[in-house]
Each structure stands twice: as structure tokens, then as C-alpha cells.
Symmetry: C2
Subunit: 399 residues, 2 copies
């Protein structure tokens, strides 16, 4: 955790991946992110993976370094407390419906400069999730070798939406700092997805060519990139993005003469053109398969590293977790007291700031762990009213 | 484009996807993003997809709404101009090497409060790309049905890194606004990837169980979610994330009695438990396959929509591009004069701000289009020195 966002207080009312990710990134940079939780937890509170005791490893990682106020949101008084917290702090991140009790216009009646960042499914308010937006924009039809579509496993749209929402909140805060104006910022998964197709040129591609890109398996479109298998059976991904890398790869595999032969036969030069290395892959790939298949991985990896060639071996997640550089010796990780009691390292901010102190990652809260503290601090509630709210079940507190 | 970041000037020296994405998000929110380009373009300037004339549809979309200063970065004078632009503005986004002429400490000698956001491959400075980080953390081994790994097509790590970098820049600016302190923020793809495994609970899962999750094809882990095919051959994704959705799905398919039978036989109740709907999928899926396969898509979609059930049909990108709600009638899109001359709609910011004016998307610059303008504006160069720099080939200008 870094203290870049010291002094920024944000209310988060959210579940699933995108909106909690937004709050997580803010909290890992030092913001005081206060979750409003349904007493007993929202719809994702027990989401898998879970421990043998049923505690969610997903929830306790996506909600690190946040505080939890548990409220009975099915009752008017609980909702009014949630609204009061939003108005008192001035910043809300949520994936609750645009028209419910956390509607921006309702909240802004008591806090004119409120900034609400709302993660949505479809832009029109209809429900959508990462996996139903992904197949609606076409990626599964391009993934794998076919004929059936292949879903991604990484919830990429959720994660991108969460990061973008965190960016958008800070952008809106900059405007408010300059002008005093608040407002609502809506970030629908569907617009993140179709906008990304546009940003990467894929929308322009299908609209100008009139047809879909071919399905390429593990081949990277438009340049030299693919998985290959070494003599000792290691599958490795190789991607060439500069002309120097290409020259070094050809040299490392001693393929200069063979490639010159293809260039002469086809009247092309691969030295300065990513596209030609892709369009002539029918001729190039067999050469590389043979050259890579004739050598062991350790030998090749050393030669590739010396030439600045971008490559990496395929691993399982368990293998990745056992890589000391990625986890054990990685400064973004440190121990943390996880509410589940499970023992594993915790991640802090992805970013590293040389010369700035990185504080250890904090654990996720237990449901309602900070109810009394936050309601006293932010709303100035005394012990009498708090006791009544607890007795009547309007607020929950962690045991 | 929205004007949330009015007055913020950022120098971008970057190529490929992550770092340009960071600059794009900033520019679409109103920042003045000034690219420093090698004269004639960097290594991604011709990246596919390209038009028949060889203009990159990828480049001209990832660099919208930015300005371009073209410099001969192979010569000392070109590099000094780049450094002067960074020092004059105070903000740099780059994926150039940490130790080169855009090293933060070098630049900060002339601008103590400089903020540098540096996108990196591996955290130790070794080169990596989206596709070589992805297979190093294990996702391709979980994607598809096996036995071979399946790469993703969406460069998800690049995109997430770009969004996170934009967030991190604004977070660092908030700190500088409060304290006067600048600094470097490093965002390695590798830490974004392994940190994401941690945030989603996947790292905890493999470290506490000691083994990898099974490969699930298009099944979503830990809840009820999968693709099904309707009677008229439409493949559709269905994901249940709330207990109400489950009840409505069972009712919409008239499966209440059949599911009660499974519950009785197995001594479980699916009503309140995502995990059980996943672990008993061997019994549940055949029921749903039959029920969904017996009805046409339009009929089912209407019933699902009425029940708030999250579903969507698989489409190709060309089909998605033809969906009026996603593109033609979507306010994030508008016409723009693309440098390639290709005619297709341009995307602005993903976010929508009700009540704030959305300005039309701007085109990407031509290489060096703003060299003279920016050097005059930011460094105060007069026409005489500019003419000399053009004559000696230190700066390039768009024809």
C-alpha cells in the first residue's frame, strides 16, 4: 500500500468484480474506502474459491484494506444511513442500480458536489456480466482453434472496467477540485468492451473489410508470434515486435540461410515488416518448429535472453505461484492476517514507487467490522443511538 | 471526449498497447497528450490491422486525440528536445527503458517535481509482452477444454496495465498537489498479472489447495454459468449470480420439479448456494441442455429478460459491429476524420457523464503533425531555430 491518496474517503456499495476492483485499487493507494455491506454479506460474499470453512478467498482479496459498515439495506433506516454516509463523504463507487436508493440525483440533493462512479452492465441498465459481454462482442469466436467458441477465464472486462472506474473517479475529482462541480460517471461493461474493440482497431477492421478475422489459435495476429515446443517438451511463447528482435531470433536459431531462401523464392524481405512475417507464416513456422524442436529449453532461453527476444514458457498457476521472482521475493507481496485464517501472501498495489515507502497490504474487513467506528466518525453518532441501531438490527457488527 | 482533465499536459513516449492506452484514456478525458514519436513512426506505427495502403487501424485508434512531435531520437539533439518537453510539462507516460535517456532521475534533475509513469514488461526490466506474461501466470492452461493451452486474443494485461497507469498518474498528481512531491511510478505487466491472480483469490486458491483448478471449458468456476444451444441453434451464455436469478431461471424453464428431485436425491438445496449449483453441475447441466434445446432463442430471451436473468448470444465481431445499440446508436461513437482515410466510427471515452457535454472523438495525429506547434508553445522556440531543426532533420513535420 502507498499513501498517494491520503485523505480521500470513498463509499463503496458493490459486489462481484468490477466495482470492488475499483475500490481495491483506491484503497491500495491509500484512500479510506468504506464498504456498505448488507448485514451478513452481499451476493458475492461467499463466492468461490472458498476455504474448507466456506470463507471466500475471492472476497477477502478483492476487498483488502477497506472498512466495512454492515447495514440492513432492506429497511428504510438502513438505506438512509447509507445515503447519509455517501453525502457526508462526497464520493461513491457502486454497481447498484442507477434508479434505486443510490441514484445519483437522489443523493446529490443533500450533497450538490457529489461524485458517483457507477459500474453498469449494459449501458441501458440491463444486467450483464463479464462473461455475457465478452461473447456479445465476439472474442470467444476468435479464441482457440475452433469450431466452437472459447470463453476467457480471466474476467478481463470486469478488471478493465474497475481500473477505468478508479481512473474516472480521480479525473472527476480533478474537475471538482478545479470547478467545484460534481456529477455521475457511468462506466458500463458493454461500452468498455465495444470501445476497446474500437481502440484496438478491430472494429475498424471488421467494418472496413466486412468480415471477421480468421481464427488463429495461439498465433498472434499481424506479426511473428506463436507457441513452439522445445526438444525437451517445453511449450514456449515467442513474440517478435522489433526488427532487431527478428534479426536476433533468426541468428539465435541459425536460420539465416533458410529464411533468405524463402525471401528469394517469394520476393519479399522479412527484415523490416511485421506483416510479412505474419502473412508468410505457412513457410516460416515449419522452419522455426524444426529449429526450436531440435534444442532444449534452457539452451534456447539463454540464447533468446541474450538477444532481447521476448519469450516465456507456459506454466500452470501453481507453477507461477511457486516462482520466487513473481511471489516470494516480489515486493508487492507481504504477509497479512486474512479473515479466513488461510495462510498465503497478500498483494498490495501493482505499481512500485522507487524511493517511497510501501506499507504492508492490509486484510479485508469482517462484515460490519467498522460499523460503529465509521458511523461515529463520519456521521457523529454517539453510543446511545449506535446501541439502538444495533439492538434493532439496522446495523450489524462483526463478532 | 469529456473535459475532466482540462489543463493537464502529458508527454507520452510509447509504443505497443499498454502505454498508448494510458495516454488515450487521458486524452479522451480532456488532457493534452503530446506524443514524442520517432520521425517516421516507432515500432508499432504499421501494426496490423492495416488498410490496403498500409496505414495502421490499430495505431490511429490507440492514439486518438493526441498530438505528435516527431524527433530523431537517435541523435543527441533530438533526445534533448524530448527531455526538455518532459521537464517543461512535468508529466511523462512511457514504456521506454528505465535506464535510458528517459530515466526518471535524469529527467528530474531539471524538474524536481516530475511525475513519470513507466509501463514495464517484467518488474526487473526484462522485456515482456501481454502474450508472454499471460502464459507465464497460467491462464492459457485453464482456457478451453484441453489438452493444449489456449492463448487469449484480447490483450487483457496490456489494457488493464494501461488503465491502471492512467489511474496511477492521477493518484500521483493528487499527492503532488497536496505535497509538492513528484516521483516515478512503475507499472510492470508482470506485477499487474500476478497481482490480479492474488486479487481474484486464485493465488490463494492454488497456494492453499496445492493444486490447479480443473480446466472447465466454457463453464464458469464456482457458480452456475455455461453456454447452451437453443432449438434454433443459437449458442447463448447464461450466468446466475443471485438467488433470485436462479429461482427465475428455474421457473422460466419449468424445471422446478426436476430440480427438486435432484435436491432430494442428493440431500442439497440449490436455492441459496452458488457453490452447490457448480459442484452438482453433472446433474444440473443435462436438465438445462434439454430444456433450452427444446425452445427457440427469441422465446427464451424474452423469458430470461423478464426474469432479470443474465444471458447473451454468442456473436462474431462483425455481428457485434452491426448491433445498432453497441455502435450506430451508441453515444460513445461519432464520426472522425481518420488519418488513413478509412471510414468508420470513432470511440470516445468509455464513461458517460449525464448532464455533461460529450465532445466528438478526435482523430489521431499524423507523424510530426504538431512538431512546430508544440515546440513553439511548450519550449518557446521561434521560427528560426525551428527551421534549423527541420533542415537538419532533428524534427520531422507531417506533409
Amino acid at each position: 500500500m502507498y499513501r498517494l491518496l491520503d485523505g480521500l474517503q470513498v463509499i463503496e456499495a458493490s459486489s462481484f468484480v468490477a466495482s470492488p476492483t475499483c475500490g481495491l485499487y483506491l484503497a491500495q493507494m491509500g484512500a479510506d474506502v468504506i464498504r456498505i455491506d448488507q448485514i451478513g454479506g452481499g451476493p458475492d460474499f461467499r463466492r468461490w474459491p472458498v476455504t474448507a470453512q466456506g470463507d471466500s478467498l475471492y472476497w477477502e482479496n478483492l476487498n483488502r484494506a477497506k472498512r466495512s459498515v454492515a447495514l440492513d439495506l432492506s429497511r428504510g433506516e438502513g438505506r438512509e444511513l447509507a445515503q447519509a454516509l455517501v453525502r457526508a463523504t462526497g464520493q461513491l463507487v457502486t454497481n447498484f442500480p442507477a434508479s434505486g436508493f443510490l441514484a445519483h440525483d437522489t443523493l446529490a440533493q443533500g450533497r450538490a458536489d457529489l461524485i458517483t462512479v457507477r459500474v453498469m452492465g449494459w449501458a441501458n441498465g440491463a444486467p450483464a456480466l463479464d462473461y455475457t459481454v465478452n461473447n456479445a462482442v465476439g472474442y470467444p469466436m476468435l479464441t482457440g482453434e475452433g469450431p466452437d467458441p472459447v470463453n476467457h477465464v480471466l474476467p478481463a472486462w470486469d478488471l478493465l472496467t474497475g481500473a477505468y472506474a478508479a481512473f474516472a473517479l480521480l479525473a472527476a475529482l480533478r474537475r471538482r477540485d478545479a470547478t467545484g462541480l460534481g456529477g455521475e460517471v457511468r462506466v458500463p461493461l458493454s461500452d468498455v468492451a465495444i470501445g476497446t474493440l474500437a481502440n484496438l482497431g478491430s472494429l475498424a477492421e471488421v467494418m472496413t473489410t466486412g468480415h471477421d478475422r480468421p481464427r488463429l489459435g495461439n498465433v498472434v495476429f499481424g506479426l511473428f508470434g506463436r507457441d513452439f515446443v522445445t526438444r525437451d517438451g517445453v511449450r514456449t511463447m515467442i513474440v517478435v515486435v522489433t526488427h532487431r528482435q527478428w534479426a536476433n531470433l533468426v541468428a539465435a536459431l541459425d536460420l539465416g540461410a533458410a529464411i533468405a531462401g524463402i525471401e528469394a523464392a517469394r520476393g519479399v524481405s522479412f527484415a523490416q515488416d511485421d506483416g510479412l512475417r505474419y502473412t508468410h507464416r505457412d513457410a516460416l513456422f515449419p522452419l522455426f518448429e524444426a529449429a526450436i524442436g531440435a534444442r532444449d529449453h534452457a539452451d534456447l532461453a539463454a540464447a533468446f535472453d541474450a538477444g532481447g527476444i521476448v519469450h516465456s514458457a507456459y506454466r500452470t498457476m501453481a507453477e507461477a505461484a511457486a516462482d520466487p521472482a513473481l511471489v516470494r521475493d516480489n515486493p508487492i507481496f507481504a504477509p497479512a492476517a486474512n479473515p479466513s485464517g488461510a495462510d498465503y501472501p497478500a498483494a498490495g498495489a501493482f505499481a512500485s514507487l522507487p524511493g517511497m515507502e510501501r506499507l504492508p497490504p492490509c486484510p479485508a474487513p469482517r462484515n460490519g467490522q467498522h460499523s460503529e467506528q465509521v458511523l461515529a466518525e463520519v456521521l457523529g453518532l454517539d453510543s446511545g443511538p449506535l446501541a439502538r441501531l444495533i439492538d434493532t438490527g439496522i446495523i450489524g457488527t462483526a463478532r
